[in-house]
């Protein structure tokens, strides 16, 4: 599988500045999707606003030949991996130029050329499929790691138990990344489980687990590197939980009337982007002007993507009947 990254504007994470740019790109992309939906120019989508550090930190720790599985809230993972914002946005708009010819829309965007495989919007779908990708990887002579992103809600599906248990029993090279964003659509996590950390559940399968501050991109990156190193060396699963927060609603638009105002406010103070900016400014290698530059570059990129997506054609009607059977 050859991996083609966007060359010009692709974020090459590995340092906080690059991570910041990647996070800003995701944020701008998601806010554009929300704005387009509000203007009735796009279908609704599930944004990852507030969770950028988890995507950027983990994906940054992966190598080009590693694989990624994701879910309905995938734009962050895809952009961090170097997906082209044009084609990503086009896909969400159901356009022929999208990564899946518009057939997926926002909910199940796979990009095989980037190693982003089998995206499923069935909560738990990614968990049921990752063991198969792990198995084929384990049976090949590749040293790849298979990372799977899923939510705290997915962890309450039975398939979570089946997946982690099988990965442990069969020694599959899987990095489980639970993005615990405190919400499961319109239900708070604490209505659905007696633990605060999904890693407490995972720790019982005989695999290493860790919960990391999911809003600290450097911490996420460090934890992910450790995890990836473990998997590459031992060819066994590792469980990493990024503890974070869904700052916008479940799916656009969402007035968040059901969200506790204090909780939301306290997490807004821990915005991963603001934190990365502060960290950079503290180093004095980075100025406010530099940040403004990055922000502007990102904004331009997203405007271009929107133009591309909006002006792209819809798939032709005969696409309705293709791609059913191999």
């Amino acid at each position: 599988m050859t991996t083609t990254f966007e060359t010009i504007e692709a974020p090459v994470v590995g340092e906080t500045a690059a991570a910041l740019e990647s996070m800003l790109l995701i944020r701008a992309f998601e806010e554009k999707m929300a704005a387009l939906k509000a203007a009735n120019q796009a279908p609704s989508s599930c944004t990852s606003v507030g969770q950028e550090a988890s995507a950027v930190g983990v994906v940054g720790a992966l190598a080009k030949d590693d694989f990624i599985l994701t879910n309905h809230r995938s734009a962050g993972h895809l952009l961090a991996r170097g997906a082209n914002p044009d084609r990503l946005m086009a896909e969400i708009l159901g356009k022929a130029t999208g990564y899946c010819k518009g057939k997926s829309g926002s909910l199940h965007i796979s990009v095989k050329e980037l190693g982003v495989l089998l995206t499923s919007t069935i909560v738990g779908g990614e968990l049921s499929l990752v063991t198969g990708v792990g198995l084929s990887t384990a049976m090949s002579d590749s040293n790849a790691v298979v990372a799977v992103f899923f939510g705290d809600g997915a962890a309450t599906e039975g398939i979570f138990h089946e997946s982690v248990n099988l990965a442990s029993v069969w020694d599959l090279p899987i990095l489980y990344v639970c993005e615990n964003n405190q919400w499961q659509a319109y239900v708070h996590r604490n209505e659905t489980m007696r633990v605060d950390h999904v890693s407490e559940w995972a720790s019982r399968y005989g695999i290493p687990t860790k919960t990391v501050d999911g809003n600290d991109v450097e911490a996420v990156r460090a934890a992910a590197e450790e995890a990836v190193e473990y998997i590459r060396k031992h060819r066994k699963p590792y469980f990493l939980e990024t503890y974070t927060y869904r700052l916008r609603g479940h799916m656009e638009p969402d007035d968040q009337a059901y969200v506790d105002k204090n909780e939301l406010a306290s997490w807004k103070e821990r915005d991963p982007i603001a934190r990365a900016e502060e960290r950079l400014l503290e180093t004095s290698l980075f100025s406010a002007a530099d940040i403004a530059d990055v922000r502007e570059r990102v904004a331009r990129r997203i405007e271009a993507a929107a133009e591309f997506a909006l002006s792209s054609p819809y798939p032709s009607f005969d696409e309705l009947l293709t791609d059913v059977y191999a």
Binding site: G94, K103, I122, Y258
Partner: protein
């Protein structure tokens, strides 16, 4: 008569039944959040959010139904039923029989499906026929606010597991509903329009498609009767047969894919029991046998259109 949307009709029907019978409870992912008014009126014991786990939601409903409660569960979108098939099919559908009649399962499972929101095949998959092929359960799929309310109320009062399918595209469609307490019986089709030359048989969103087609046919001098099945299991054979024995022609229309769909069953029944009356082949106009796509125009092209129904009828007259 008042005019309310299908969504309101469902909530009203549920609320009325909860008022009427304290054994009725409702739960599902976000049910208490989205149904906060119900939660306010009936309390957090009877209106519950659940963990994100369709299997245990359905299993809990079946277990509770067998021991005195009457659960109404919301599994959101029909494809999520794939995580609850054991509980619905193997438990609720079979354990009455296998126990020699010791248990009954008065439970209603609500899901949504159909084109309209551009959400793709993992949210939109018309699988009602699976349950028609499943013993021990009943299946309804209404087309208008009055039937949504009346059939939901019947489903809640029924002592058997009832699958309640909601066509996504109808959710915000307004319609007149009768005042006061009324039910629509499960197993009774509705003749939406009388006609003498051909019978158009459908359910859910494509009932309207058939009515539109019937208008067009009228202009061409063909009088079409339109039947809304409403209940898919049990099917109202008598109403279908009476109509087709009179008209001699039938077209069955639905959005679900064709193979082993409800249209196949209706066509097979007509082919067997109305054979002598048929003046032309029974035709089926269905969604294609592909996973529904997300892209809006493609999704729209998935859905049977009135044109196609008109063309089918004209073929029958050719």
């Amino acid at each position: 008569m008042r005019t309310i949307t299908v969504d309101e009709a469902i909530t009203e029907g549920l609320a009325e039944e909860m008022r009427r019978d304290p054994r009725v409870i409702t739960f599902g992912e976000g049910v208490a959040t989205k149904g906060y008014k119900l939660a306010q009126e009936f309390g957090s014991k009877r209106v519950r959010n659940t963990p994100l786990a369709e299997g245990i939601i359905a299993g809990t409903a079946a277990g509770a139904a067998a021991t005195g409660l009457r659960p109404v569960i919301d599994l959101l979108f029909a494809p999520f039923l794939t995580f609850a098939m054991d509980e619905i099919v193997n438990s609720a559908g079979k354990l009455r029989y296998l126990s020699g009649g010791q248990f009954s399962f008065p439970m209603v499972t609500i899901t949504r499906t159909g084109a309209g929101w551009g959400v793709g095949a993992q949210h939109n998959h018309n699988i009602e026929a699976w349950f028609v092929h499943t013993p021990g359960v009943k299946v309804v799929m209404p087309s208008n606010a009055a039937d949504f309310k009346g059939l939901l109320k019947s489903a809640i009062r029924d002592d058997n597991p009832v699958m309640f399918f909601t066509d996504i595209s109808l959710i915000y469609v307004p319609g007149e509903v009768p005042d006061g307490d009324y039910v629509v019986p499960i197993g009774k089709a509705a003749v939406k329009r009388e006609g003498s030359d051909v019978t158009l048989i459908s359910y859910a969103k494509t009932v309207q498609t058939c009515l539109t087609a019937a208008d067009a046919l009228q202009e061409q001098g063909i009088s079409a009767e339109v039947i809304d099945l409403r209940s898919l299991k049990p099917l109202d054979e008598a109403t279908i047969l009476a109509s087709v024995q009179r008209t001699g022609r039938a077209v069955v229309v639905h959005e679900a894919g064709g193979p082993c769909g409800v249209g196949a069953e209706v066509a097979a029944i007509l082919g067997e029991k109305a054979f002598g009356s048929l003046k032309a082949p029974v035709l089926r106009i269905t969604g294609p046998d592909v996973p529904p796509p997300a892209s809006y125009p493609l999704e729209a092209s998935y859905v049977p259109q009135a044109d196609a129904v008109v063309a089918a009828v004209k073929k029958q007259f050719a």
